[in-house]
Amino acid sequence: MTRVTEPFAVASGSVLHPVNDKTSKLAGHGKEPTEPALTPLGSPPEPPVSPHGDEAIHTGPEFAVGEGDVRSAEAGEYVAGSSLWKDAWRRLLRNKLAVFGMIVVILLVVASLAGPTIIKRVTGYSYDLIPKEETLNKSFPPFRAADGSFSWTHPMGTDNAGRDILARVLSGGQISLMVALIATLVSLVIGISYGATAGYLGGRLDDLMMRIVDVLYSLPYVIIVIVLLALLPAKTPTGQLAELFIALGAVSWLTMARIVRGQVMSLKNQEFVLAARATGVSTTKIIFRHLVPNTLGPVIVYATLTVPTVMLSEAFLSFLGLGVRPPRVSWGSLAADGAQNLAIYPWQLIFPGLTMALMLFSLNFLGDGLRDALDPQMRRE
């Protein structure tokens, strides 16, 4: 499930070239020595740089006009060094949806990290606290106390055992976030190393490595992951989580490897690489110290796409009972619990579900915004 990436940007001004291999075939077709390198669907030729400082007169893609010399200030390409990132940051901030997404994400993260502790102080409930009194061992709707009166104790109500749902949702957030981040990190590490190595070494080794990726890409090995996770005994929670990280990370590194390989291949013939080699820098250092940092743009974008995808994967695995096991909670397992009592106590599902949707929603907007902000550098690959 985590293999498919969302390849295109929503905003009109930029289109990220899809990562899926098929459409990249298009770029290679019909190239003639006499013709400028254009995308197969055509774009106007680029006019010369303007005299106005940073601003380059740039062909805006909106114009099907032969000239296109009418837009300026897409400064990214012509300015070297740190201002690339500053530019991207500025562009990101202009995108209101992305900023909204970023704020919500930050809020949710803070709430998940600090929330459970605060709640414990205020109401005394934690995610696994089952009240001793029997009368409290049932599911209350939000903001209601045992006798039906209004109460601040349980803003999201309680589950069947009387545990506070808000505390559980926030704790679940901790786990979901942690799994998502670490699994993404795993896939980043594997993907970057693999892709950069393949791209730099090139030749037969590269062919072989990419063949393997191709083969793995078409295996439905989420199925294997399910088998793996189902068969694991419910041992110590940490042990369980470790497998989960690895399993999830192992599924999503493929596309990252492809992206990084593509970037490295286009970078490796540049002069700074030659210079490094001429001064005797070792291959590993070249790959990791010189080339990889320059691939950060697409890597960041893909990473922000991977996080919500992995989060979703963890959630549905937990929903099926394969992911996070009790007593730990994640949004997925909360949804599973809630789904059972849907008819009678719908809030048990609604709150975890909506929280998760909100998180994914914001992450996606943020990801889109990042992609647009970084896009001018990642022209049509």
Binding site: E32, P40, P48, V65, E67, D69, V70, S72
Partner: protein, 339 residues
């Protein structure tokens, strides 16, 4: 629709203004253009990137994308009918039938997913009411006329199977399928090999004399217009800077910009020559300076030029120049030999 035009000219353009709304402000890509074209004549529109030449041609056919562009003023009369006043259905009727256009990059201007024959057939089926077999035969015929070898076999293929020069020929065939009165060629050879360029230009010349069409040839390359055109219009920053019959423009330019353009064409016969380049870069159309748009780069610019917009000076009956010092430049050009 065949009304007699007011002065026997095929095309008459008056005060054409096409503006674009961009993030940076209002860009006046074409700002008050006027020219005429007689039947069977070839007009060259010459200018650097950003001068407005392509926007002009797209404006004639009303192909300007509506946001962000808009033809805000002007009159474009084709045989007396003002194209800018026609309804969308009427202008669609004219496109491809009475005016046709070929574009710069034949690789991307042909639909890569459609057979060549089909792309040609579309035009005649639409405008001439051909049925399938008729359109097909006509398509083959056109392909042969433009010099595609083995046309019948090629017709069922796809554009990517042809070379650049061949594709441009296909575009020409497509454009001339309905025998238009006017053919607009927007940088038809820029994306092609030098050797192919000459062939394509010859082809256009031949077809033009065969069909009696008028041609507007848009290019940045003076060499291209030299042998092809009757009149030339030089554009810069959305305005016409000079217009004159071709021979006269080359022999005796009346505008510093034209003069500079001519100077920058390298002369292989001159002994020791530093390559001349017009200093500076084309202006930012969203923020044009006061006064003459070329003043920042002009060798003869004086204080007046930066302050006041130059007049459109009539030098001879058919030769005009936009410059404060048009007459001087014109006279000086006469005194100096060559270029």
């Amino acid at each position: 629709m065949n009304a007699m035009s007011s002065n026997g000219k095929l095309l008459s353009v008056r005060n054409l203004r096409t503006y674009f709304e961009t993030e940076d402000g209002l860009v006046k890509a074409v700002d008050g253009i006027e020219f005429e074209l007689g039947r069977g004549e070839t007009l060259g529109i010459v200018g650097e990137s950003g001068s407005g030449k392509s926007v002009t041609s797209l404006s004639l056919m009303r192909l300007i994308p509506d946001p962000p562009g808009k033809i805000v003023a002007g009159e474009v009369k084709l045989n007396g009918d003002d194209l800018l006043k026609l309804s969308p259905a009427e202008i669609r009727d004219i496109r491809g039938k009475r005016i046709a256009m070929i574009f710069q990059d034949p690789m991307t201007s042909l639909n890569p997913f459609m057979r060549i024959s089909k792309q040609l057939m579309e035009v005649t089926q639409l405008h001439l009411g051909h049925h399938r077999a008729q359109a097909y035969e006509h398509a083959i015929d056109m392909l042969e006329q433009v010099g595609i070898p083995d046309a019948r076999a090629r017709a069922d293929g796809y554009p990517h199977e042809l070379s650049g020069g061949m594709r441009q020929r296909v575009m020409i065939a497509m454009a001339l399928s309905c025998q238009p009165e006017l053919l607009i060629a927007d940088e038809p050879t820029t994306a092609l090999d030098v050797t192919i360029q000459a062939q394509i230009l010859e082809l256009i010349k031949r077809l033009k004399s065969d069909t009696g069409a008028s041609v507007i040839l848009i290019t940045h390359d003076l060499g291209v217009v030299a042998g092809m055109t009757d009149h030339i219009v030089v554009m810069y920053a959305g305005k016409i800077f000079e217009c004159a019959p071709t021979a006269e423009l080359f022999a005796q330019p009346g505008n510093p910009y034209t003069h500079a353009l001519l100077r920058s064409v390298p002369d292989p016969t001159a002994r020791e020559q530093k390559l001349y380049q017009i200093p500076g870069l084309p202006p930012d159309l969203a923020h044009l300076p006061m006064g003459c748009p070329f003043a920042p780069r002009c060798e003869r610019a004086e204080e007046l030029c930066h302050r006041e917009f130059p007049p459109f000076v009539k030098l001879t009956r058919e030769h005009y120049s936009l410059c404060h010092f048009a007459n001087e430049v014109y006279a000086q050009a006469n005194a100096k030999p060559g270029k």
